[in-house]
């Protein structure tokens, strides 16, 4: 791919041979148009929020890019994620359509994000307007305050989401040191559905439960998880003393690199 102007003008430049490694992870958090990008030397953190009750963070390590330069400690901007994904998948998003190479550049505040895409000799030059960063919701999910934690294979959880009645308003997550250990429940018009996972199940890689905790979360806020869930191979489910839910999805890219997508969701106060 040709250089579009001197790279020294840009505060952030990243190159990638297969744009799907990047776009798939963005898609996992694509449930709202607006996303906040925070670029540091370690990688890119993409934050998407909904209803002041839930937040998704995608962590894209610098390692998945073939070239990655950041001139400042951190570069931040807000961008329309739908537009960005539309550009990144302009040559098609399926794995059959060959690989698209990408170069992404950003000059700094007030400048658009430039994405150059190349597929089979065809070049696309996209400029997406950016906005200044706003403060993200301070969820303050503190690792020391974690009460209950489970790490599961995503496959097991995917099956549960297929079984649960997603038309119900709430999903209840219950963790207890005794049976049923880990229970997901929905309460719909036709009755209730429970999915129980014993702690010694092969699907359960880790289960540490200090005390019985049962919280309800709005299904509408949880639905975006399912995108990440389909892409992921492992899920860590944690709750703190306030019932705040943290879900961390481990996603393996086509190159075999590991990325994380994290969701926070407030419990429903009755």
């Amino acid at each position: 791919m040709d250089q579009a102007g001197g790279d020294q003008e840009f505060v952030f430049v990243a190159k990638l041979d297969n744009v799907r490694n990047f776009s798939n992870i963005l898609r996992a958090v694509h449930f709202k148009d607006q996303a906040a990008f925070c670029v540091t030397a370690n990688g890119i953190k993409v934050t998407v929020e909904d209803s002041k009750c839930m937040q998704a963070n995608a962590f894209i390590q610098a390692g998945i890019f073939h070239e990655y330069h950041v001139k400042a400690d951190s570069v931040t901007f807000r961008i329309n994620l739908t537009a960005l994904l539309g550009c990144l998948t302009i040559f098609g998003s399926s794995s059959q359509s060959g690989t698209t190479a990408m170069k992404m550049c950003y000059r700094g505040d007030g400048h658009p994000l430039v994405a150059l895409l190349e597929d089979g000799g065809v070049l696309t030059d996209c400029k997406i307007k950016t906005q200044e960063m706003e403060d993200a919701l301070p969820f303050d999910f503190c690792h020391t305050d974690v009460v209950n934690k489970a790490i599961m294979k995503a496959e097991g959880l995917r099956e549960a989401f297929g079984e649960l009645d997603m038309s119900s308003d709430f999903l209840e997550i219950m963790m207890s040191p005794d049976k049923p250990f880990f229970r997901l429940s929905t309460f719909g018009s036709s009755g209730s559905v429970h999915c129980d996972y014993p702690k010694d199940s092969d699907m359960m890689e880790l289960f540490s439960c200090a005390k019985v905790q049962s919280n309800r979360y709005r299904v509408n806020l949880l639905k975006p998880f399912t995108k990440a869930l389909t892409l992921s191979c492992k899920v860590a489910i944690r709750t703190d003393s306030r019932g705040l839910l943290s879900l961390q999805f481990m996603i393996r890219t086509e190159d075999g690199q590991i990325c994380f997508v994290e969701f926070y969701c407030c419990p429903d106060e009755e």
Binding site: G156, E159, D165, S190, H194, C195, Y197, D200, D202
Partner: protein, 331 residues
């Protein structure tokens, strides 16, 4: 797949009619998933809590529990007797599926008829449908296609196609033969499937038609009911096709007709329907002698299509009925 049920359960002894079909279906929504992951399924009726409980014991110790609410309902007591039905056939579900597949998906009812020499199926059009615009589809099956064929009385019955499709899909999935017992219009038609572990009987009501209720073997000349005329006409076509195509067991005849009547016409029925009663009269007048009956029918159709351009085939002008409808325009 099914394990012996826990027959000690007290609730089992009670007969509880209830209605919960949709939610129950949602329990078994993914048959592939169930086959892959479910080891055991426990079904329990929790009467105090008014819940029907489905517990799926899956791989990796995962237990999925569906607590379904239900509501009492009156169950219909169908009055029927399979043994008293004079018409009894049995056929592979595949044969019948291949027959009903030709009907449009929005077709509500079909008419099943039987004579000593054949079984026919055709779509039923109720009185509100403009027969000139409707598609008519008919299928004839010869008795040799059936595993069992007893036609005690020539009759035809009309019933819902959707239910029939459901029965056939179910039977085909289990690779079963479907038995069909019926008597006459207005009396129920009974579809049944049976194998070593299951027996299912589906009783469908049939349309009670004043004219169709009497078993009949020949079309009567004077019929006030236009729908019957039409159906009879189609039947005649099918009859004739059966004769000409006796080598292939199944014949299909689908006819589409545009409404060719001028708006000011005093004759409500489309020409080709009326034409049915004057079959013998019009045939000698046709240009193409010796044309098979369905061709005559088709020529009517094409004439109807070409009519707006003012070109009326001689085939048509030779037919008394059409000439009456369109005389002003063509000549």
């Amino acid at each position: 797949m099914l394990y012996p049920l826990n027959t000690d359960h007290q609730a089992r002894k009670q007969h509880v009619p209830f209605r919960k079909s949709l939610a129950v279906l949602s329990v078994f929504h993914s048959l592939v998933g169930i086959e892959r992951s479910v080891d055991r399924c426990k079904i329990q009726l929790d009467l105090p809590a008014c819940r029907l409980v489905f517990q799926l014991h899956c791989r990796y110790g995962i237990i999925k529990t569906h607590n379904l609410t239900f509501q009492d309902c009156e169950s219909l007591q169908a009055m029927y007797s399979k043994s008293q039905c004079p018409n009894v056939f049995r056929a592979q579900a595949k044969l019948l599926i291949d027959s009903v597949i030709h009907f449009q998906m929005n077709q509500e009812e079909v008419t099943l008829g039987v004579t000593q020499t054949k079984v026919f199926l055709r779509n039923y059009l109720d009185g509100e449908v403009d027969v000139g615009r409707a598609t008519l589809t008919g299928i004839c099956l010869s008795p040799q296609e059936f595993e069992h064929f007893t036609a005690g009385v020539d009759t035809e019955v009309t019933f819902c196609l959707k239910e029939l499709r459901g029965v056939l899909t179910f039977a085909e999935a289990s690779n079963l033969s479907v038995s069909i017992n019926f008597e006459s219009a207005g009396r129920p038609i009974i579809f049944s499937v049976e194998d070593s572990i299951l027996e299912a009987t589906f009783i469908l009501a049939t349309l009670a038609d004043a004219i169709d209720s009497q078993p009949r073997t020949l079309p009567s000349e004077h019929n006030p009911h236009s729908a019957n005329k039409r159906s009879r006409h189609l039947q005649e076509i099918l009859d004739e096709e059966m004769v000409s195509l006796d080598t292939s067991g199944m014949t299909i005849s689908a006819v589409e007709a545009q409404n060719e009547l001028p708006t000011g016409s005093t004759i409500p029925a489309p020409a080709w329907v009326r034409q049915s009663s004057t079959d013998e009269v019009t045939e000698p007048n046709q240009e193409s002698e010796g044309a098979p009956p369905q061709k005559k029918f088709r020529s009517l159709f094409f004439a109807a299509m070409s009519k707006p351009s003012g070109v009326l085939g001689e085939t048509i002008s030779g037919q008394s009925v059409l000439a009456e409808d369109s005389g002003g325009e063509s000549d």
